[in-house]
Each structure stands twice: as C-alpha cells, then as structure tokens.
C-alpha cells in the first residue's frame, strides 16, 4: 500500500515517451509574451506587474554588475512558481519533485556565483570563509566549517525544494485517502479530516510560492557576496 503513494512521483511516460518535457513546457502557454501595446489584456498586465515586482525586489540589494543576472533570476522565479502551483491541480505531475531536476537547476547557478566571485575578487570571496572578530584559536576550525557550509549550498538548495514539495504532495495524498476511507465508517471524523485537508491545501499553495521565492532569494544572496 505504501508503494502506491510514491507512484505519483514517477516521471510520466506514454508508450515509453517521457512526458516530463511537456509538463515543463506547459507553463509557457500560461505566460504569453506581452505585445507592444499600451493597454494589454488582463493576463499580460498581471504578468507584467508581477515580473516588475519580482525584479525590483531581487535587484535592489545587488550592485550594477549583479543586474546582469536579472533575466535569469526572474525567469527562474517565474518558472518555479508556475511549476509548483500547477502541481497542485489534480492528476498533474510536478517536475520539481524530481531531485535530478532541482540539482540541475541549483548546482550550475551556485557554481556560477562561486566562480564569478573567485574570478573577479578572489580575496574578498575567500574572506567570506572567516567571519569578522573570531578569536584566533578558533580560526582553523571555523574556516573548515565555513568551507563545508559553502560546498553544501547547492545540495541544500536542490534538496530543500524537492523535499518540501514531495512532502506536501504526499501529505495531501495520505490525508485525502484517509478522508475517503473514513467516509462510510465514521462521517464525523471524515469531515474533520476534510477540514484538515482544506487547511493543508492552503498551506501547500503557500509553500509552493515560498519555496520558489526562497530558492531564488538564496541564489541572489550568494550572488551578492560574490559579485
């Protein structure tokens, strides 16, 4: 019985053709390119407002060189947001529950921030490994700790996104199974479980949005240190 709960995360295949590409491309349909009119349709207006909001928020702490990253960070944020939210619809597949995909997003971007820092300002980047004002005996240990925390960042980024979304989807599936199983037996408890399901769905919508934001925010933070 437990095995069937994880089946929702298997990459969908139709006659052996992996369909994950279609799940990844579908959000592009929902985000039409705004044509150069003064008054666009409501969808484009909403989208433009949202993109401006995100870009402003992300670019304020960065210096001028960091603004080159605006396109990739904003598009990453929009991508993750739409994919996470689409995964909450029934029967859909969420590509971000696959660790492979999240690591493929996190690792190159983190590496890019690290290499940018090491290339342009190597001593300042390495200086981040030692916080100011540490007592002298602690320095070797602290450098090792900071290096470990630096190297574990891509893993943390990928796994955080994967684990949050996977756990949420699993919880939804478990509780909804409990609700339907209890309905013929004890309707009162079933209604209680349905209430929990409602609250959980609201939480999942929030988590979907927050996780996308956290991913991009942390990346921009790593960029700030290094650019």
């Amino acid at each position: 019985m437990n095995l069937s709960f994880f089946d929702q995360f298997t990459s969908p295949c139709l006659l052996g053709i992996p369909l994950i590409l279609l799940s990844l491309l579908f959000p592009a349909l929902l985000l039409p390119a705004p044509d150069n009119r003064w008054v666009t349709n409501r969808l484009s207006t909403l989208q433009l407002w949202f993109v401006h909001l995100i870009t402003k928020q992300l670019m304020i702490p960065l210096n001028k060189a960091g603004h080159k990253w605006a396109l990739i960070l904003t598009s990453l944020m929009t991508f993750l947001l739409t994919i996470n939210l689409l995964g909450l619809l029934p029967y859909t597949f969420t590509p971000t529950t696959q660790l492979s995909m999240n690591m493929a997003l996190a690792f190159p971007l983190w590496l890019a921030t690290l290499l940018t820092g090491l290339r342009n300002q190597p001593s300042a980047s390495l200086g981040h490994l030692l916080p100011e004002g540490t007592p002298t005996p602690l320095i070797p240990a602290l450098i090792m700790i900071e290096t470990t925390s630096l190297l574990i960042r891509p893993l943390a980024l990928g796994v955080r996104l994967t684990a949050n979304l996977t756990a949420g989807h699993l919880l939804i599936q478990l509780i909804s199974t409990a609700t339907t199983a209890l309905l013929p037996i004890i309707p009162a408890v079933s209604i209680l479980t349905a209430l929990i399901l409602l609250l959980l769905t609201i939480l999942e919508v929030a988590v979907a949005m927050i996780q996308a934001y956290v991913f991009v925010l942390l990346l921009s933070l790593y960029l700030q240190e290094n650019i």
């Binding site: 069937s4 298997t10 349909l29 969808l43 029934p90 029967y91």
Partner: protein
Amino acid sequence: GPLSERRLMDVRLGELPAWLATCNFSPQGLLGGVQKAWNNYYDKYINVKRGGPAGISMLLAGYCLLSYGWNYQHISK
C-alpha cells in the same frame, strides 16, 4: 470560401474528410496548425479587454484532463 482555407470550426461535418485531405501533415504544417489553433484560442478567450479567469481556467482544466489521460493506465490498478 474554398475548402482548404476555411477554419475547422467552419467546416461542415460531411465535408470533414475532404477538408482533412487538404491539410498539410508535414512537421512544419502540423506545427503551423498548432500555432494557429493556439492563437485563435488565445485571441478569443484570453486576449480580450475584460477577460476573466475563464480563459486560463479552461486551459488548466484541459491540462488536468490530459494528465488524467496520461496516468490512466497507472491509476486503474
């Protein structure tokens, strides 16, 4: 107008095989057909002055149905 230039919604049921014969089934032709269909849908339901949630909701509902169809074999255990 001539059969090959009419859109699918304007073709009568009896004329359907004849209309299909005039279609261009090469990859570029199919892609062009998909693009035209999407643009027609977009202009009719989403790219309007006072659109509401309906245009996008139809898309999302279609996506749910499509996903159900993909997973059907797996779900019917």
